[in-house]
Symmetry: C2
DNA sequence: GTCTATACACAGATAGAC
DNA sequence: GTCTATCTGTGTATAGAC
């Protein structure tokens, strides 16, 4: 598909904070390859030997560095709260903005820093949800939802059952992402973003207001 | 936990349509054990040998009967459209009714007929979603959502973008089930059903009406 | 013919050699 | 610190016992 993992090229120098030279470089290469493969092919279909092959290292190193395939998955498929800003606006129209944000990131690819994974992407969420058969993955997913969707808006809602309403709003956003990236309903993925924002956003807004 | 697979006992005679005697009985025992284990422990954590053990048959038979563990999973974790009746009522209050239905079946266990799997349960949905890493499972899930949520209400909505609105409504129901049975948010599972029905139902109703 | 026992293939994980 | 060889466990296929 996309010529993303161009491989050997792009070995340009970094600044100073996070070195791309020395032993760290192998570790980073594994992490980057894993992030790409996991978010594209999923946990099950991605093998340790495949990750190692793309990163240009020995398969045993992958385990040695990260403990297990599952740990590596958890480390790379981590979403951060970088859209705290978006939620920080006025309550008016927050529903529409939240939906628009989710749709905007719908095709986004994973971007990793050298030490921790940053930048949210719907692909990450889908990969987590698809692999939620495993308890550790489920816990990780729950933590992410709590941190990203619930926590950011819970304190801002007023009126009765504010916490419950925030969680129901999180459930709605989860549902939209699930429908688009797991169920992959063509009726949704082919629909115009503007329409989805309008209808779904209005529905969410209903929860934000009492 | 439950003494479900009581095994040898209960070998009572059946009517005439579907025999519980002879070779069919083993097949049925496997299916029943699989349904219970899959919906309780998930696809990955449930082994073929474990299913065979609980059913009291040889592990090889499981594969011989159903082709593969995945095929068996698909066959047992199938939801039917037995709640077509519930959706058949008036459009007024349909949102609340849909949410109430989902919550009602929230703790239901899987019940299988001898030939096909019947009776919807949220556990089945959760098991499917959790195992959606596999393409066949994902296709099966998409089919179920289309058949159960979208198809039943799509023709009934009027106004602009009726199909899109029906799919968005399906996404919301999906989200509620995901939040409760995959993410397992305690703030939702411990909340009163009446509150959830009220808030979430009202939100869904917004989509039903233009 | 139907079930049982055994053998194979593949992936993740480990222990030891350069 | 990095790679080679091996082990374990799971899904799957086959050949033999009643």
């Amino acid at each position: 598909m996309s010529p993303a993992g161009s491989g050997d090229a792009g070995a340009a120098a970094k600044g100073d904070g996070s070195p791309t030279v020395g032993p760290e470089r192998h570790r980073n290469a594994v992490q980057q390859a894993a992030a790409r493969l996991f978010s594209e092919k999923g946990f099950t279909a991605t093998g340790v030997r495949e990750i190692a092959g793309e990163a240009g290292v020995d398969p045993a190193l992958v385990i040695r560095y990260f403990g297990s395939k599952e740990k590596l998955f958890l480390r790379t498929m981590t979403m951060s709260v970088d859209f705290a800003d978006l939620m920080g606006g006025p309550l008016d129209g927050l529903g529409e903005r939240a939906v628009a944000f989710v749709l905007d990131r719908t095709r986004g690819l994973v971007v990793n820093g050298p030490d921790a994974t940053r930048s949210y992407s719907a692909g990450v969420f889908a990969a987590l949800l698809r692999a939620s058969d495993r308890p550790t993955v489920r816990a990780h997913l729950a933590e992410s939802v709590e941190e990203m969707f619930v926590g950011l808006v819970a304190g801002r809602l007023s009126g009765a059952d504010a916490d419950l309403r925030a969680r129901l709003m999180a459930a709605q956003l989860t549902g939209l992402m699930t429908a688009m990236h797991v169920v992959e309903d063509p009726g949704l993925t082919d629909a115009s973003d503007a329409d989805i924002v309008r209808y779904y956003g209005r529905s969410i807004q209903q929860l934000i207001e009492g």
